[in-house]
Amino acid sequence: MKNKYGKIALDGLIFNNPTFVLVLGTCPTLGLISSASSAFGMGLTVVVILTLSNMLISAFRKIIPNEVRIPAYIVIIATLVTLARMILEKLVPDLYDSLGGFLALIVVNCIILGRAEAFANKHNVLESAVDGLANGLGFTCALTIMGIVCEFLGKGSIFGLQIMNFKIAALATPAGAFIIFGLSIAVFTYVLNTFMRSRRIKSNKIARENLLDKDAGAMPVKEA
């Protein structure tokens, strides 16, 4: 049982990372990664909304008829996004201002609707919550890492703290973000493939050793 939640979490965070592997939520990714703090803020907001929407949709999955599931999901997600906007505007106005129009666009973020459709409506509330949390954190990590790179190279700062004067202004634009996004996917895929290959080699080696041990154990001993 514990292994199941671990698998869901690792899938959302790494193996099916919504940004680097599934390439979902590209609009806020390209729009916000020029600033690490905006990217991090957007990520955290998505974590909350994705987890809650997954939980609600999972809880109501047996009540909502299949025919109207998409409009029902959209209404639930839109309500959560509106609530998030209200709370952020009231309590964290700086973050609310920095996210701008992208905050409202979370309603149509395909990660959220995608997880609702692909996972939450087939699993129980706890599993859906773990999936939402993992995917949200995967999205947050991806956005924040790319945000740090973009902001550092594009503005010479990290989280608003000026580090150096040298900057490549183009990287602070959506076009620059697109390049960083592409390179990040390439690096992530390379690291993931390398890791998977080494894991596969290791498991093959173990399997082979096991097989040899088994064969050795089964070999008849010749009497002297």
């Binding site: 409009p71 029902a72 209200m86 505007e89 701008g100 129009g101 634009t173």
Partner: protein, 460 residues
């Protein structure tokens, strides 16, 4: 399907579930809105805190008593900060990517005059998704680069690489700042701000009226110098356009290319292709009267559609306003009551009946003036004396001293073109300077507009 079957059907279940979800969500949002609503006072306190870092005493300006709508923005609220005498203005500026941008602008006041801009803070936007890309240094630009009497130009901010790729949002912010300054000057400090002389013209939104001008030529053609407002991401364009008396483009030249991409060497030939065009020809190139990029019928100016749009807008403005420009070409028109004034043309001389607006405390004056072909005053008579003190018996002789005068003679009597009382070089009309001002204004108007009167052939 019976009612019972309907209530048991999937359709009913779908409707019921969707309506239930909507109802629950609606109730939840209503409650949360009541809990988390940010009040106007709270917003205002945040702004004060951001600008001053502490609470300050403010005095609200009653907007019901002043003009709040300006060419490029609207004033939403204004406060006088009693601690430092500056004004805090909430203003919505037009020209953004998807609508308006609302800003708080601190207008600094020194010695009862605008002395600069303090902070500029964005309050809200409408779909300006790139606005957060504007670096904070862009907002410092206003405070660092204030020049009395000059409006901020977004092109300067753009040239300083401070727009962060959000040129249109920055345009709206700049309009906010310019509107706030105009508001404080005109409505609070009582200064006169330059009015847009082309505000009532057709397609007035295409041009920067304060930087554009026109003149009527003796052959009935009109020469315009038009500053065309930025088209989407471009800077302003400038064109010299001549519209001939038959209302076609006689010549058109782009003197300033606002294209940020560089239009290339063939700009002149493309622009000059408009020579000979009528307003209908220009309109026919677009699906509507916005002359907006991508509303063209068949591509204009291939590869440079924004420049093409600017050129077509210049041509459309010049052609559509030929009559307006002609009617408003009268020099010193402020001196007269246009409705009550008339003139006739005969034998190359122009006879005017001029009603001169009151000069300071007087009533209106009326004069009959004849200007001969050599552009001198052939005769001038005061038919109604507006002086409230009584001008006396020598009025006619004093006024008739203007006979034979040229425009230069009249101008030479004053230090400037206002012909205002007490701006005379050596006293005119001793003891009756206001009547003298009226007489000189009548003479100046009649002489300065001789050519135009001949051209138009009279209105009486």
């Amino acid at each position: 399907m019976t009612a019972k079957e309907f209530f048991k059907s999937t359709s009913f279940k779908c409707i019921a579930v969707l309506l239930s979800i909507l109802l629950i969500c609606g109730i939840l949002l209503t409650i949360c809105n009541a809990l988390f609503k940010v009040t106007d006072q709270e917003r205002f306190d945040r702004v004060i805190s951001e600008i001053y870092g502490q609470s300050v005493t403010t005095e609200e300006v009653k907007l019901s008593e002043v003009e709040t709508k300006f060419d490029k923005g609207t004033i939403n609220s204004a406060y006088k900060v009693t601690d430092d005498g500056n004004y805090l203005v909430n203003v919505s500026g037009t020209g953004g990517f998807a609508g308006t941008v609302t800003c708080w602008v601190v207008v600094k006041i020194t010695d009862n005059a605008v002395s600069g801009i303090g902070n500029v803070i964005i309050e809200s936007t409408q779909g300006e998704t790139y606005i957060n890309k504007i670096p904070s240094s862009a907002f410092d630009f206003y405070g660092d680069n204030y020049v009395a009497g000059e409006a901020y130009d977004v092109a300067d901010i753009k040239n300083a690489n401070l727009t962060g790729g959000a040129t249109m949002s920055m345009t709206a912010v700049t309009n906010c700042v310019n509107t706030a300054i105009d508001f404080i000057k005109s409505q609070i400090l009582g200064e006169e701000i330059a009015a847009n002389p082309y505000a009532d013209y057709t397609y007035a939104s295409f041009i920067d009226g304060l930087k554009s001008s026109h003149a009527v030529n003796t052959d009935g053609s009109i020469s315009y110098h038009l500053v065309i407002n930025p088209v989407e991401l471009t800077n302003a364009f400038e064109f010299d356009v001549v519209v001939s008396a038959d209302k076609t483009i006689a010549s058109i030249t782009m003197t300033v290319n606002g294209s940020t991409y560089g239009f290339g060497a063939d700009a002149d030939s493309k622009v000059s292709s408009l020579v000979g065009a009528t307003l209908d020809d220009v309109k026919a190139k677009f699906t509507d009267d916005t002359f907006a990029p991508n509303s063209d019928v068949g591509e204009i100016f291939t590869g440079a559609s924004l420049t093409g749009t600017a050129a077509y807008r210049a041509a459309a403005f010049a052609l559509a306003n030929y009559d307006n420009a002609l009617a408003n070409a009268w020099t010193y028109a402020d001196f007269i009551d246009k409705e009550a004034t008339s003139y006739t043309v005969a034998d190359s001389s122009v006879s005017y009946h001029l009603v001169i607006n009151p000069v300071e405390l007087t009533n209106a004056f009326e004069f009959d003036v004849v200007v001969s072909a050599d552009k001198t005053i052939a005769s001038i008579t005061m038919t109604v004396n507006g002086s409230t003190y009584g001008f006396g018996a020598d009025a006619d002789s004093k006024v008739s001293s203007l006979v034979g005068a040229t425009l230069d003679d009249v101008k030479a009597k004053f230090t400037d073109d206002t012909f205002a009382p007490n701006s005379d070089v050596g006293e005119i009309f001793t003891g009756a300077s206001l009547t003298g001002t009226a007489a000189y204004r009548a003479a100046a108007y009649a002489l300065a507009n001789y050519d135009l009167a001949i051209l138009l052939g009279g209105n009486a």
